[in-house]
Symmetry: C2
Subunit: 340 residues, 2 copies
Amino acid sequence: MTPITARTITLTARPDGWPKPGDFRVEEAALPPPGAGEVALQMLWLSLDPYMRGRMNAGASYAPGVALGQPLPSEAVARVLHSEDAGFAAGDLVVVHDFWRSHALRKAGDLRKLDPAEGPIQRALGVMGMPGLTAFAGLKHIGQPKPGETLVVGAASGAVGAIVGQIAKAQGLRVVGLAGGADKCAYVTGELGFDACIDRRSPDMAAMLAAACPKGIDVYFELVGGAVWQAVLPLLNPFARVPVCGTIATYNDTAPPAGPDLSGALMRTILVKSLTLRGFIVSEFAADAPEFRATMAGWLASGQVRYREDITEGLENMVPAFVDLLAGRNFGKALVKLAD
Amino acid sequence: MTPITARTITLTARPDGWPKPGDFRVEEAALPPPGAGEVALQMLWLSLDPYMRGRMNAGASYAPGVALGQPLPSEAVARVLHSEDAGFAAGDLVVVHDFWRSHALRKAGDLRKLDPAEGPIQRALGVMGMPGLTAFAGLKHIGQPKPGETLVVGAASGAVGAIVGQIAKAQGLRVVGLAGGADKCAYVTGELGFDACIDRRSPDMAAMLAAACPKGIDVYFELVGGAVWQAVLPLLNPFARVPVCGTIATYNDTAPPAGPDLSGALMRTILVKSLTLRGFIVSEFAADAPEFRATMAGWLASGQVRYREDITEGLENMVPAFVDLLAGRNFGKALVKLAD
């Protein structure tokens, strides 16, 4: 095996608000040869997902924050360069929970093999991967959609929101999205088949959302928080379900916003409308992955589910691409391509 | 049947903040004789419950607000004065969803007969009635307590909180209450058998609660909102369940409190801790009533569950007693006794 230099992006400072380049550093190190049961990987695709912002903080998010000097997590699609495990051979394509880096040694047991005949391999980071399972399982277990109901999802052109809406549409719901700008809204209704899409930046957003939901809202898949959530709350029907999957609008807040304090009003609304709010992390529903992948493969093959990717080239562009994702400047699943 | 004058307390103005005497009026009218299938009732006991405050507002609470000029709802224990229905006879004791009034004509189908041999009849308004079922069903369906877990409930000496804690204690949980003042706390630990009770008025309330919950909180039965809820939130464990049954601390707010706005932080906590918040109203669990009454009768007979009543005499004292309830000046289930 020829010597390989692995480049890794580490966290050097905890972002104060929006992440900036100085909070990160690229480190280079020679990749040692794999030991028994290990595999040397070249990362081809890394995933950018909003949850990573929480891992940059010191306090507990889903998990403890990443330690300073350590790399951030990412799902990755990789090619096997060299294997010391009987289950893998050079050239195999795999998906792995990894980090913001170009190469790695990993244990064979951490890898799941991909069949490139099944479609573009980077799907394993999006519609066929973690974001897809998040949408599928959060909707199934918490959203519990029923035909004829109305579902609303923000970030409707994004990796999770687009799939949430398309699944709900396939199940006979009225589906209303919110997205940032006219182009994204046109895509959400035209390409993804949502019944309506509201520009979240419109000053009339709340009134437009109300008009688009004449029978109220039965399922609100929460990805964004902030003003969208405040606009949704008065429209929720009794017994509405709110899978709380993300609140990206608040991830870079350095302090709670100015008052008044609406948290008491939120609790009262939960009470009088018999609402269910349920936070979740996709790992809770890992057992659904096989059913999800089989179902989603069918939907993709039939054209029932469509998707869009927002591809950044090069590890060196990963940080700005992540900031773009937090700001909603991506259009589709945010991916970083490291190699062909 | 001798002529009967029914006295009814009607709502004459929507309270702006705390209810005041001028928001109500006592009206008198002769009770007509019952028609076929009807029963003339003399109310012996009326119930006072925090939810009634919401019904005084114009906006939708659980149900539309009570119209001005109309009486407020109350559960009642009544004696049959005269019956034109074969199922009831003069002298029978019944429980009925009624109103703030002394006498009424009701259809026989609205009544449930009480057997005075089973215990004090006013239990049907408290530990054996709506508050008891609220505690029982909210805990069973939403709280889902497991032995070894920690449950916290505010208003721990009140009609619902006292029962929540005693049921959880019987199921093997560590149970921590909050109540207003040393007397109530002594009752909650001494008489009701909670493991600890924190004075919600103590300036160290949050620190004391944390110390009383060394393994965090798995179930928080929400009755109070406000500062108690803010103290509970950081102590909740992953996958904690929060039955949202009331937020009495906020019922008389005329506007949201000053900032900062903590609603975004609340949503983020729901997310990162995979919390379940579920609002409910006892009517949702009406089907549990027979199981509840049978179970609770056994617990009362064995001494497993104990209770305390706070009795006000006379319909004319109902409004001040209700204000006392909202202010936490009651000590036990708030009842109004109209007649022996």
